[in-house]
Symmetry: none
Subunit: 421 residues, 2 copies
């Protein structure tokens, strides 16, 4: 069974609103074994709506349409559906009763323009909307069953799961495929290198399809498989995930969409250890990433954002001579910062960043993108590492500096090599 | 001139990613006087890509395609474009040179799979990508000029404005209407209240169209006007912006898309003042927001992320009795934190946050969403304010706490009332 999805409305056509409804519907259909092949975005243009409904009616088995069911003159979905199917609009008594009930409960009069919402194409099946005024409906156009839903996300979601998915599942019957996905998150390798490493995966594990997705600075490896029964599909993904882990090594930091900060936090929490930070170039971003995790106060002690050099000496106890001799961006300074953070907060681990995020502040010797990361813990260091990671924009450089620091700590905590070749 | 937009990629088709690129492109095209009529979302399926490229090629004047230019086997845009236009793929020397330069600058070898990105349809016009490996290209298919851009949003945006919009404007020539937009950014009022306040604007200023856009926790008021000559359109927007400012008052913090942190930073920088932070519940986010701004080291001294209570006493000099008597989340503690930060970093202003971001840690007296913000500066305080701002999710609460703190400082620095009714 193949499906298409149509989002309607001037706000979609003109880009005033990004269409998140279609992504939601696509994900739900895919999870339910219906293959989505095309998404469409259209304005409130009757002729174009009719044209696209007819076009999709010749091609797809199922189509979900959002928007255009409201009370105003630019809500055209019912009219366009009727025209595409060669039907008239008629007053649907059940729809009218539901509307009257909706307004009665809210002690508001039924507006004449709301009455328009009770007109549906003749023979359409009404889909009740328990949380809004716009009833939906199902209608066959060409060879395809169309489901018309309101564009308001929470109304759409509720009606999709209560009314649409059960009807589609019933129609699909035994033809239902399981479509599963596994996600491996990687840091420290470019998308193209990840792709190269995984090139043979579809040959090695028949039935798996590979997708790569960049969420800067993380590369997500998506492994897709479809078929029946569910166990078999799951087995293919297990095998593919093992193959990918083998090919990618320690750049894979999670297999359950956990963030890098969550992976580090869980490791600290499981071993009863704690962490303190001394941030310069990352400006608080490391602390922010770690404190996004509920319960992080159990293992995160705190940090010092030592933006000015005086803060590095006064708060972290780095000697002014060190900064004078080596500069603020140097392994020696990074070591002193990590050691200072660990001591000041009485934490198991101290982690530091000092670098040049840009756009200014770089030099020939220390160009923009230079970062020194310091680490200090039980039997470890203080030690520091210098990297050059320039991603053209200050905010991206800050992000990659923070991830690099978290990744170093993850590797040390897990006894992994510090970099993957 | 009419345009269509195509987003490609399995993540789009399957709903793993909501397509925000197309909305961005649609808005840009509309602002530039090009009418967008259809948006399309497609997976990495060669046959279907070719079919849709041909279909659009018969219908539209302009089409912008995103995605599918990467180095991996599932990146099919160039191949599909060549097939739809009946052309071969050839190695484009300028694209290869740009790729080599990109890797040389980063001291990385040019990967064989990246080499694939230099193959473009014969006769295509290469569109340089200064910030990524994927060059774009322009190609005529049927009667329509297609522009192929990478799917990575910041690469796409940069190339859209540098390469695509100027070419479209040149092709549109004198048929162009000026479609201008003015953006007022607001913090501290719900979207529906902003909408209510602005209800009469189209009647008061004929020719202006209003759009509201929520970028949590900021509400952007978009004022659109179109026509000729440019001066007239600009005059309408000036008048509408003045009307909106009057209606909204001090919740408007910028009219040039500057962030709240930028507004605060500019104010500090212009007056030669400096800022230090003591963050508890925001965990470093305030420092992160401030250090996103290039040159922030001129006025941002640093901060202490005092997650543990011991850090509040040892580093910020708050007496343990204060914390014991009032608790960590209290105006007294917030005052002590702001004062401590100001003293420790020798800054003009000290700003602090202490609160409960959730999901746990709340109580009947101090539920999740409670935050105390402390402020201390020349002739001001230390003083603190308590708010209850619960947005259901930890990360949203942290964000709104940080924005509330910045907004308080903005209001104090500008002599504004502390809250807008």
């Amino acid at each position: 069974m193949i499906a298409e999805i149509i989002a309607t409305g001037e706000e979609i056509r003109t880009g005033a609103l990004a269409d998140t409804n279609s992504a939601y519907i696509a994900a739900q259909l895919e999870e339910n074994g219906i293959q989505v092949v095309r998404l469409h975005g259209l304005g409130d243009d009757l002729g174009r709506l009719v044209e696209v409904f007819r076009e999709v009616g010749e091609r797809a088995d199922v189509c979900v349409v959002t928007g255009g069911l409201g009370p105003t003159v630019d809500d055209l979905s019912a009219e366009a559906a009727a025209a595409a199917a060669g039907l008239r609009l008629i007053l649907e008594p059940r729809a009218l009763a539901a509307l009257e009930e909706f307004f009665r409960r809210r002690s508001r009069p039924l507006n004449p323009s709301n009455r328009k919402q009770a007109y549906l194409p003749a023979g359409a099946e009404m889909l009740p909307n328990p949380v809004g005024t716009a009833p939906g409906f199902a209608l066959t156009i060409g060879r395809c069953r169309f489901f018309f839903l309101p564009g308001v996300p929470h109304e759409m979601r509720r009606m999709l799961s209560a009314e649409v998915l059960p009807r589609i599942a019933a129609a699909a019957g035994g033809r239902r495929d399981y479509r599963l996905v596994r996600t491996l998150s990687c840091f420290g390798m470019t998308e193209s290198r990840v792709g190269d490493r995984l090139e043979g995966i579809s040959a090695a594990v028949p039935g798996v399809r590979l997708g790569l997705r960049a969420h800067f600075p993380v590369i997500q490896v998506k492994l897709y498989a479809a078929g029946r029964p569910e166990d078999k599909v799951r087995g293919i993904l297990d095998q593919a995930a093992a193959w990918a882990r083998q090919a990618l090594g320690s750049v894979v930091f999670s297999e359950n969409e956990a963030t890098l900060a969550e992976v580090v936090g869980r490791r600290l929490s499981e071993t009863g250890q704690s962490l303190a930070l001394a941030e310069s170039c990352t400006g608080g971003l490391l602390g922010h990433l770690l404190t996004e995790i509920p319960g992080s106060s159990a293992w995160f002690r705190g940090g010092i954002v030592a933006y000015a050099n005086e803060a590095k000496t006064a708060l972290l106890g780095i000697s002014p001579q060190t900064i004078e001799r080596f500069g603020a961006v140097h392994e020696e300074t990074a070591c002193g910062m990590a050691e200072g953070a660990r001591r000041v907060f009485a934490a198991t681990w101290g982690l530091s960043t000092t670098g040049i995020a840009g756009p200014s502040g770089g030099s020939a010797e220390k160009p923009v993108g230079t970062v020194c990361i310091g680490l200090c813990g039980p039997g470890v260091g203080p030690q520091a590492y210098r990297f050059r990671l320039d991603y053209d924009r200050r905010s991206r450089n800050k992000t990659v500096f923070a991830f690099k620091a978290l990744d170093l700590l993850r590797r040390v905590l897990s006894g992994m090599p510090l970099e993957e070749g």
